[in-house]
């Protein structure tokens, strides 16, 4: 705290003067009386205590103190001059690997240790809504996120290797050469005449080959299983023909001896399906081309027969983004953007540069508990579905699911809340509405699509760490200007309030003195009053 006029603090010396004046003013007047015959002996006990608790004294001291402090003009420095270090931590599916968070935390600790007290460390996880089940963000997204805002030093922490041109951003790779992972990268559920065909694609993200067993089970019942050999850094796939299945099943990896498969990334070791009905309201004004996009997102996230990872009914309202201002209230909302780069999506040149958070802000006024937003015009692999859900505090927590990826829904937001009666919703199954357009992961057609290619590192774990070099932050320009705030107004207000209280409140002592002065009888012969 600094002072605008520190010399005014000399006025603090007036506090003892106020105290002395008060004491002089309130010291007992000596009154000579013919006799104290009628004054009770015990009446003489109270004055000292009464004087110590005199509110007038304390109010006077408070008013004087506040006035002096206000004259000195204290300035509160809320923020010192410093630098901002923005660190973007790559999230997504690879971030759930064992040891990744610990390696990131060590990097963050080193950066934090290099900061001065007035510096500020901003840590952003990208994707910041991450559930840990999305692929690793692309380097461009991470660099763009690091480039946002004012920062003296920008750092990206990822397990992936640094791109060729980090554009002034420090890229720290925290990959480990010891990681080991084999996982399901794609599944497709295709109806057959006598059941379903389940396609499973497995990738071996390791430097050596592995033998895994694919097991399809419904609860504890094994429907089908098959051992496959996965080459180092290669793929293996198998299509199971299974009969009629119930409401839920899962396909998982196990070791050849039947024991649980355990590697550094457990999230991709199994894929679960559930079949649940949803209620869907399709906007009549929705263009046909966008209906196709609706199909894409629904099928990619729910499966054409309504298999998904949630167990509750859903209620969707599908509309174009241009009409979000007049959308009816609905628990869930599906919003379609007909073209990239328009409106709130104009964040980048292409749809793959769209910032989902910008879209979230655009949709923040929509009265829905859950929002899907998809892009219809971009390539299916670049489109995304944005899932928003209102939490108990009324905020929205988005989940981004790229088309074709495994989507785990958040708990049903309609639980315990009946759907609005005036909302035109119909209970429909997805496949009843959309027909057979493809299985999970199949976008825009039949069959399946194998997610993950040899050049796509989003589903593989990084193996090459890099050394963190911390620059001299003091040599960089400060982006954090000091902020000072004058405390003079509140101090003056307090002083005025104290003075008003002194003046308004009829303190008993002052009232007694006034009355005594009003009834004072001058002595005619010898003044018996000594003040």
């Amino acid at each position: 705290m600094t002072w605008a006029a520190a010399w005014a603090l000399v006025g603090l010396a007036a506090l003892p003067v106020v105290w002395l004046l008060h004491r002089r003013r309130h010291r007992p007047r000596t009154v000579a009386l013919p006799s104290l015959l009628f004054v009770e002996p015990e009446a003489a006990a109270a004055p000292a205590r009464r004087q110590a608790l005199d509110p007038e004294l304390w109010l006077s001291l408070l008013a004087a103190l506040l006035l002096v402090l206000a004259a000195a003009g204290p300035l509160q420095t809320t923020r010192a001059e410093g630098r901002t270090v923005r660190v973007v931590v790559s999230g997504g599916l690879p971030a759930t690997a064992q040891g990744y968070r610990g390696r990131v935390d060590r990097v963050l600790a080193r950066i934090a240790g290099a900061l001065a007290a007035q510096d500020r460390l901003e840590v952003v996880e990208e994707p910041w809504w991450g559930t840990g089940l999305e692929p690793r963000p692309r380097p461009g997204v991470l660099l763009a996120s690091a480039d946002a805002g004012e920062a003296a030093w920008r750092v990206v922490v990822s397990d992936a290797e640094a791109p060729a041109d980090p554009a002034g951003t420090t890229w720290v790779s925290v990959g480990s050469p010891d990681v080991f992972n084999v996982g399901v990268v794609a599944t497709a559920l295709t109806p057959q005449s006598a059941g379903f065909e389940l396609f499973v694609n497995v990738r071996g993200d390791d430097t050596r080959s592995s033998t895994v067993r694919l097991v399809v089970r419904e609860h504890d019942t094994v429907l089908a299983q098959r051992s496959v050999e996965i080459p180092a850094g290669g793929y293996a796939s198998h299509a199971f023909s299974i009969g009629r299945i119930g409401l839920a099943f899962r396909v998982e990896l196990t070791r050849p001896d039947g024991s649980a498969w355990s590697d550094d990334l457990a999230a991709d070791d199994a894929v679960a399906y559930e079949r649940v009905p949803i209620r869907l309201h399709m906007d009549p004004a929705l263009p046909l081309a966008l209906r196709r996009a609706v199909e894409d997102v629904l099928v990619s996230t729910l499966g054409r027969r309504g298999y998904r990872d949630a167990t509750r009914d859903l209620a969707l309202v599908v509309a174009a983004s241009e009409t979000t201002g007049s959308l009816p209230p609905a628990p869930w909302l599906l919003v379609l953007h007909p073209a990239p780069g328009e409106g709130a999506l104009r964040a980048g040149a292409g749809i793959d540069r769209v910032r989902p958070d910008a879209l979230v802000r655009n949709l923040s006024t929509v009265g829905a508990d859950l929002v899907y937003a998809v892009s219809a015009a971009a390539k299916p692999t670049d489109g995304f579905a944005l899932l928003l859900e209102r939490d108990a505090d009324g905020r929205r927590w988005p989940v981004v699911a790229r088309l074709g990826q495994v989507v785990h829904f958040l708990p049903d937001p309609t639980r315990g809340r009946p759907a609005p009666a005036d909302t035109p919703l119909w209970p429909l199954f997805v496949d009843d509405l959309l027909g057979e357009v493809g299985g999970r992961g199949a976008v825009g057609g039949a069959g399946y699509r194998r997610l993950g290619t040899p050049d796509d590192a989003s589903s593989s774990l990084g193996r090459t760490p890099t050394e963190l070099r911390i620059p001299d932050l003091r040599a960089r320009p400060a982006d954090l200007a000091p902020e000072t705030r004058s405390l003079r107004p509140p101090l003056l207000a307090g002083a005025v309030l104290a003075l008003l209280l002194l003046w308004i409140v009829p303190w008993s002592g002052r009232r007694a003195r006034r009355r005594a002065r009003a009834h004072a009888v001058p002595s005619a012969y010898g003044n018996p009053v000594h003040s």
């Binding site: 309130h26 010291r27 007992p28 007047r29 000596t30 009154v31 000579a32 009386l33 013919p34 006799s35 104290l36 015959l37 009628f38 004054v39 009770e40 009446a43 003489a44 109270a46 004055p47 009464r50 004087q51 008993s508 002592g509 007694a512 003195r513 009355r515 005594a516 009834h519 009888v521 002595s523 005619a524 012969y525 010898g526 018996p528």
Partner: protein, 298 residues
């Protein structure tokens, strides 16, 4: 030259007895006669040569007797000289005793008590009787002045001016001694603030002596009914004792209640010994005080 003028020139204390008061004293005999109109000249006959109306009897003529008092008719009838005797039409002795303690001084007490004493003396003299003025100090009665003529009032005033309130009254010791000084049947005017820890029962020392008179109680409001004054340090002028108190409304009420009870106790004991209880304050006007003295005194 009128009496008041002579009193002023006699250098009486002008603070105690201003010219207005002296004029009141000068007019007092006429006022007494006016106020007591219709009453007998004297309320009590005392033995002596007397006047012509209160015949008491005859006695044998002794050489030197006034021949005009020889009852010649009886002498013609009985053949011996007898002298007629009459009772004198004279008032009783008035005893004015003033509390001389220091407590009588503050808050105008000395002025008013001195004027009350002067008025009492003047009334006693105006009633054609002997008047004796004394003070009670430190438990002892001390006679200041005795006179029977109105012209001697100046000496009363001078004596009162010289009598400075000092010390303590000690009524418990003073009253029994006072009884020995006061003749039986005399009129006693006792002027005091009664600010003493003596029990009012000490007044009973005056009983059985045929005394009549009044107890003039000087009540100073600052003592008997103080106003709330906040934090004050009270100084007892008699004892020098100091009490620092918060004189608020509650304490003022308690002090007033105690003072009232104290006055009532003294009043209840004054009546049985023949003393009328006459309270007065420094603010009581001299005229009102005189009226009460003349009208209420037996």
């Amino acid at each position: 030259m009128s009496e008041p003028t002579r009193l002023v020139t006699a250098s009486v204390d002008s603070d105690l007895f201003p010219p207005a008061f002296l004029r009141l004293l000068a007019a007092l005999p006429a006022a007494v006669q006016r106020l007591r109109a219709g009453a007998t000249e004297g309320r009590r006959a005392v033995p002596g040569q007397g006047g012509r109306f209160l015949f008491r009897g005859h006695r044998e003529y002794r050489p030197g007797d006034d021949l005009r008092r020889v009852d010649w008719k009886v002498a013609a009838r009985l053949g011996r000289l007898l002298v007629r005797q009459f009772d004198a039409e004279r008032d009783l002795l008035t005893e004015v005793w003033l509390d001389g303690s220091a407590s009588m001084a503050p808050w105008g007490g000395r002025v008013k008590s001195a004027r009350a004493a002067a008025l009492a003396c003047a009334v006693g003299v105006a009633a054609a009787g002997r008047t004796r003025l004394g003070v009670l100090t430190d438990g002892r009665p001390r006679i200041l002045m005795e006179a029977s003529q109105h012209g001697q009032l100046t000496e009363f005033l001078l004596a009162l001016g010289d009598a400075r309130p000092v010390g303590r009254a000690d009524l418990a010791a003073a009253l029994p001694r006072l009884v020995k000084r006061v003749p039986r049947g005399s009129r006693l005017l006792l002027i005091s603030d009664l600010l003493s820890r003596a029990e009012p029962g000490c007044l009973h020392a005056l009983a059985g002596r045929g005394l009549r008179g009044a107890l003039l109680h000087l009540r100073v409001p600052e003592v008997t009914a103080p106003m709330p004054a906040g934090l004050v340090s009270l100084l007892d002028v008699e004892t020098g004792e100091t009490k620092t108190v918060v004189l608020d409304e509650r304490l003022s009420a308690r002090v007033a209640a105690r003072a009232k009870a104290h006055a009532e106790r003294w009043a209840s004991h004054a009546g049985p010994v023949g003393l009328r209880y006459l309270p007065f304050a420094p603010s009581t006007s001299d005229e009102a005080l005189l009226r009460r003295l003349v009208e209420d005194l037996p």
